[in-house]
Symmetry: C2
Subunit: 199 residues, 2 copies
């Protein structure tokens, strides 16, 4: 479906409502009311509430993937070490989350409300994204830069911490997105870095 | 309301359904059907779906608080350092989450569906719990044991990572609760520990 500014408005309104009331707790009528239009007019732009959710979740998945590609897929020579790449991946993720906290929240919480087939597709895509973290952690362990953690556990730990930003971030809050990105990159990198134990 | 075994069964069934379909996506009729009883019989034990949610969330909050008290409130002399206490706090949290993953999931995701007054009460209680992490991080920084992180950011980071376990833990999965507790305590402690930089 072609992205129009009206459709963008519909998805903005839906993201706000899904975030506040959940997907199940929001009706097409609620979305129409938030836009001050009739439910019938809404159906000129979207086929169903599920369609709106799918569009939001898909587009947000793309943004995470594109940001991760840009952060670590560069043609830098020599390739930066796993620590630098992990920090870049964390920053990229935090930037996508804080740039559109409503859509990020829907992505994190409401993707489970997708229909069975779409949920399976998104599950594969989320797993492929998480695999970037797992592979980088494994590479860092191999290189001796990272502590011998379980890469799958560490990847789950890091990603849920990053996604947890949707629970507390407020655009008018004390911290700017760049400060959060810095702090989260530091915490995440330290969490996996091998420590020279001096005790 | 007195806790009876029937009521316990109702809350078990409700926790499973809330986890799978969310609070809004679950009806009292769904809960009754899961227990193979009539909706009317259910109302002999609970006054509303909201009442069931409140009971689950309250009891789970108590379990987190009691576990944290037991983990760091001991009369050990000398008092263990902030690092040991943070690791103990993390372990205690992970144990409560993995011990009843359905209730933990409802606690993490569905508490926002509480009525306004209850939500405000639970919000205060969650904040007091998070304050234990903030205070411990601040104490560790003061002692020079922890890196100079923002204690509020670090506490949010750690707690959302810990709560993120509800998104992936399966009792029949590869890892036992004690292994997850060990791995999460290591990751969390390293995330805040001051590193002797040798570069």
């Amino acid at each position: 479906m072609v992205e129009t500014s009206r459709r963008r408005e519909i998805e903005d309104a839906a993201s706000l409502l899904f975030r506040e009331h959940g997907y199940s707790g929001t009706s097409v009528r609620d979305i129409a009311r938030a836009l001050d239009i009739q439910g019938a007019s809404l159906y000129a732009h979207v086929t169903s509430k599920q369609d709106v959710l799918w569009s939001i979740v898909q587009r947000t998945a793309e943004r995470f993937e594109e940001a991760a590609d840009a952060a670590v897929g560069g043609a830098e020579d020599p390739v930066p070490g796993p620590g630098s790449r992990l920090a870049a991946l964390v920053r990229a993720h935090v930037e996508v989350v804080t740039d559109d906290i409503e859509r990020a929240s829907v992505f994190v919480h409401d993707w489970r409300s997708l229909s069975v087939e779409r949920r399976a597709e998104m599950s594969r895509r989320r797993d492929a994204y998480e695999a970037r973290f797992r592979a980088l952690v494994a590479e860092g362990i191999e290189a001796g830069t990272f502590a011998p953690v379980d890469p799958a556990v560490a990847a789950a730990y890091l990603l849920t911490a990053l996604n947890g930003i949707v629970a507390w971030y407020r655009p008018d809050g004390r911290l700017r997105p760049a400060q959060i990105a810095d702090a989260y990159a530091d915490l995440s990198l330290r969490a996996v870095l091998a420590v020279e134990n001096e005790d």
